[in-house]
Symmetry: C2
């Protein structure tokens, strides 16, 4: 059972919150408008990963309450789908998660605020982070692309970064996060090895593996800004891990919900 070993490698020690796993599942398998996942398919995927039915019920309740998911009944079967809000949020993260290359903007903009009181600064820092800016110093932010309607109180400059010093690289990629990348890379290698050249993996197993790979990767890339490799410490495992993720996802292919349902019926 190559797939079983690979699934164990990817779940072992991983912090898997059920609601967050479900977010990954919909983002990976049912992001398109009107795409649905029948309850039994959803339960089969999470069960394969080791999630208990009770945990599933709680997570689905929470995601409906948070207006991320909705559902419709068709006879005795519930069908789940993303709300417009959930789909928009998924789309926002998609570019980062599935990118096969690091970001490489041709131009950048830098914004500098004047003296601020601490409350103002916290508020601005949060807004800047949300719009993809990197804080370089108190009140100084770097963002990809040209300046976009800056507040009149900001100094702006557009151009190309030259030198990225070590202290900044360490702020962008703190040791704990760098270690998490290396650990995930090692896990990916184990999983890829376990799968070997096994081409008989079922659609359900492939879906479960995809979800675990995307989930682990998502939890890494969304914890730091989207930047070219030159902004990260030398020897950082990011680029290699990205290649592993891209290759494993390509190898697993993307089973459709119908294919997964069929593989359930056959099992």
């Amino acid at each position: 059972m190559g797939a079983g070993t690979a699934i164990s490698a990817l779940t072992e020690g991983a912090e898997l919150r059920t609601w967050s796993l479900i977010v990954t599942i919909f983002g990976d398998l049912a992001r398109a408008p009107r795409a649905e996942i029948p309850g039994p398919v959803l339960s089969a995927i999470t069960a394969r990963i080791g999630v208990k039915p009770e945990a599933m019920r709680v997570a689905l309740h929470r995601l409906r309450k948070d207006n991320w998911l909705t559902s419709r009944r068709d006879g005795r079967v519930s069908h789940y789908l993303l709300t417009d809000v959930g789909r928009a949020e998924s789309e926002k993260a998609t570019g980062r998660i599935y990118a096969t290359r690091p970001s490489a903007p041709e131009t950048w903009h830098l914004l500098i605020a004047g003296p601020m009181d601490p409350a103002e600064r916290l508020e601005r820092d949060a807004a800047m982070a949300a719009s993809g800016h990197l804080a370089l110093a108190p009140g100084v932010w770097l963002g990809p692309g040209p300046t976009h309607r800056p507040a009149p109180s900001l100094f702006t400059i557009e151009g190309v970064p030259g030198q990225v010093p070590g202290w900044l690289k360490a702020e962008i990629m703190p040791p704990a996060l760098a270690e998490a990348y290396a650990a995930f890379g090692a896990t990916m290698a184990t999983a890829a090895n376990a799968l070997g050249t096994d081409s008989a993996t079922s659609a359900l197993d492939r879906a479960a593996l995809r979800v675990l790979v995307v989930h682990g990767w998502r939890r890494l890339v969304l914890r730091h800004p989207d930047l070219p490799d030159g902004f990260f410490p030398d020897g950082w495992a990011g680029p290699e891990t990205r290649t592993q993720v891209t290759e494993l996802l390509a190898r697993l292919g993307k089973p459709t919900v119908a294919e997964i349902a069929t593989s359930l019926a056959e099992a």
Copy 2:
């Protein structure tokens, strides 16, 4: 006496330190290598401005002790000239003082230091200011032209400034300095009026007037970084004052030391 009225307008209320005036005189009239000013010519210019002989002696002593000026005796007459150090310092300021247009670099560089202790920051701020950089925020400096051998600990970006906010304009040109510009502009207008169309001004008077104009202007432009007009507050008198200075200097012409000596003999 148009020249006399003009000289009074330019000396009235002006803070004229004798040693600083002498620095202006050599910078304006004897900056070339080996250019000399005979003691009697130097004394005649400063006397025309109202400097007492005793103040002259003290100032010349100080400037020799500081290795700014040197002298040689020729019979009973001392001839003064800039040392290599004094000439180098004069040359450094020349571009700023005599520029007929504001600076307009095609590209700029911005440098960002990581966290620093206060002593380190003071030292860096001083070094950055000395190399023509403008502090935009703590540990953030803007300089004209491309990055030039930056310390490895600095983040660098090269590009073109867009928006210059009001808080930065007010830091670059604080109200007191802006008022000093406006006051000097008014003085320049009075002096230009007093001179009228008088073309009979002696070489000595023209030298004294040049020195006063250059001196007043030098004390303004060297008090802030060299920046395009867009970095200064709206309505700032700088551009107009620069035009007044350029026009008055052109109108006075530049008497040679020999011409001044001749005009003394004729007086």
